[in-house]
Amino acid sequence: MKKSNKKIIYDDPRKVVASALVEAGEADPDIVFISCDSSLGASGDPFRQKFPARHFEFGIAEAGAMGQAAGLSISGKKPFITAYMPFITYRCFEQIRDDVAKTNLNVNIMGNNCGLSVGTLGPTHVVLEDVAVMRAIPNMTIFSPADGPQYNAAILKAAQIDGPVFLRVHRQKTPRIYKEGCKVEPGKADVLKEGSDVTLISTSSLVSNTLEAAEMLKGMGIDAEVINAYSLKPIDKDTILGSASKTKKVITIEEHTIMGGLGGITAELLAKECTATLDMIGIEDQFAVVGDYGDLLDYYGLTAEKLADRVKKLTEK
């Protein structure tokens, strides 16, 4: 159902988010959009033009902006607030924790340019720890969509969730995996390809590379199951553990530190509940080197070809 057999369509996540915000805003007059000098480059411009009174520009001042988002939300609004990943998470972390999460307010935090997507900007802008940090906060839902239709669904869903949502938005265009109009649910993951030898779990833009790698692995005699963990919190324990029980071999694949990200999440599940082995493919405990996205995927061994090769070696060991 999810896999499209047609010509590959690529979506720009920012454009999808932009149109989804307008769609959500049309359906619900309480939705407001908050930018921190980030409305143009980060998906908010169509909303700003369509609903100027419902757009709040709070400038390069994310701590203040997050507090104001909380104030708007506790008064009945449903803010979507956006900026580059480091600024909308770390700069205002305590406001997220105390003002948004402890209060369990419907504030939707869009962290732009997740993973390695803006690698030439260097490690101040390339954040590889956001999932580890944000998921430690109680009440937080984390969506990490894999493609355009999932971004659209995640925005629409976030508006309805009675509590804070952290939405990771990648910068790179992503090949379409799902059909338009698909739905997302907190706590759900999708098995995109069934297999019996190894379970590959990925998230965000690397899901498409993982699917591609699985196709290559087929030619190498390895039947990989591929799971898209688009909801990183809550995590779909049943789907992951069910697959792990079947294949007895799990490999997580992420553009994120393996400490506390998808790898860490999966390790926590398996440690308690299952005897499958686990390997984690991602970024080791380090700041990212500088490079464009393609070069960085290659450098970190995250291209489809390199993933297939790494999975093969890990499966054979």
């Binding site: 909380a70 506790i74 008064s75």
Partner: protein
């Protein structure tokens, strides 16, 4: 608004000093941030008795004015005031510092009616208040938002991010009151981090500013009943106060920011409060 009558002022003094005595009663269960609670108490008393549009029986009434105690550690005085107003039974005050109390050392809106927002980490309240005020504007509602900030708290950069935004957006249904008692946990604000001059700083951020004696009920009322001080601008009221006001041996001493009173000395402290209450009544005559 006409000025307060002498009887009204005496009534406010009565309530404010009753709240101080109740705060000391609470401290029979241990330590508390008494210094800031007492410096802000006269302002809180005027707000809840004379300024805020509120209804203790409908704490979530949509059109109520909002009050946020940004310096959340001063909350003991607010608890005593909310109990006096009828938001909850006075008995709840006596659970202070006990397991799962509804009156913790920093306020929690989930467990106690009358608390608008959980504070305690300094520097958060003004931004939240600004968001509330902007929401009122968006909905064409006429409720107002009042915030009390500590002068030490104003060293936090996030206070000034919020102040800049309120000035930029011309949020005139927002009033910030700075409880300028001059002391913070480790000493005088002028020694730790000099946050003055508040008047010039808020004015530079686009606020209309005035200065009052934060223990003069008449002055507090006169100013707060006239906000916004200027249409189209947020209002800043810089209130000169005395740390630990009313407990004479603790006044203007940073050591009383946070104090653990020996339980057997509390009743003597309450006697001092009652003496000071009479002294305040005398001034009104």
């Amino acid at each position: 608004m006409p000025a307060l009558s002498k009887q009204e002022i005496k009534d406010l003094i009565e309530r404010s000093y009753k709240a101080r005595a109740n705060v000391l009663e609470m401290m029979k269960k241990g330590e508390g941030h008494i210094g800031g609670a007492f410096s802000a108490l006269d302002i809180i008393t005027v707000l809840y008795n004379k300024i805020l549009r509120h209804d203790p029986k409908r704490p979530k009434w949509e059109d109520r004015d909002r009050f946020i105690l940004s310096a959340g550690h001063k909350v003991m005085g607010l608890y005593a005031t909310l109990a006096d107003q009828g938001y909850f039974e006075e008995e709840i005050l006596w659970t202070y510092n006990t397991l799962n109390t509804r009156v913790p050392m920093h306020p929690d809106e989930k467990v106690l009616p009358g608390i608008e927002f959980p504070t305690g980490s300094l520097g958060h309240g003004l931004a939240v208040a600004n968001g509330m005020a902007l929401s009122a504007r968006l909905d064409n509602k006429d409720f107002r938002v009042f915030v009390i900030l500590g002068d030490g708290e104003c060293a936090e950069g996030s206070v000034w991010e919020a102040a800049m935004s309120a000035g930029h957006h011309g949020v005139d249904n927002l009033t910030a009151i700075v409880d300028r008692n001059g002391f913070q946990v480790n000493g005088a604000t002028t020694d730790i981090m000099d946050t003055s001059p508040f008047e010039d700083k808020f004015a530079a951020f686009g606020w209309e500013v005035t200065t009052i004696d934060g223990h003069d009920m008449g002055q507090i009322y006169d100013v707060l009943s006239k906000v916004p001080l200027k249409k189209g601008k947020p209002s800043a009221v810089i209130a000169d106060t005395t740390k630990c006001k009313g407990l004479t041996f603790g006044e203007d001493k940073f050591e009383f920011h946070h104090w653990h009173c020996p339980a057997d000395e509390i009743d003597d402290a309450i006697d001092i409060i009652n003496e000071q209450k009479e002294a305040e009544h005398e001034k009104v005559k």
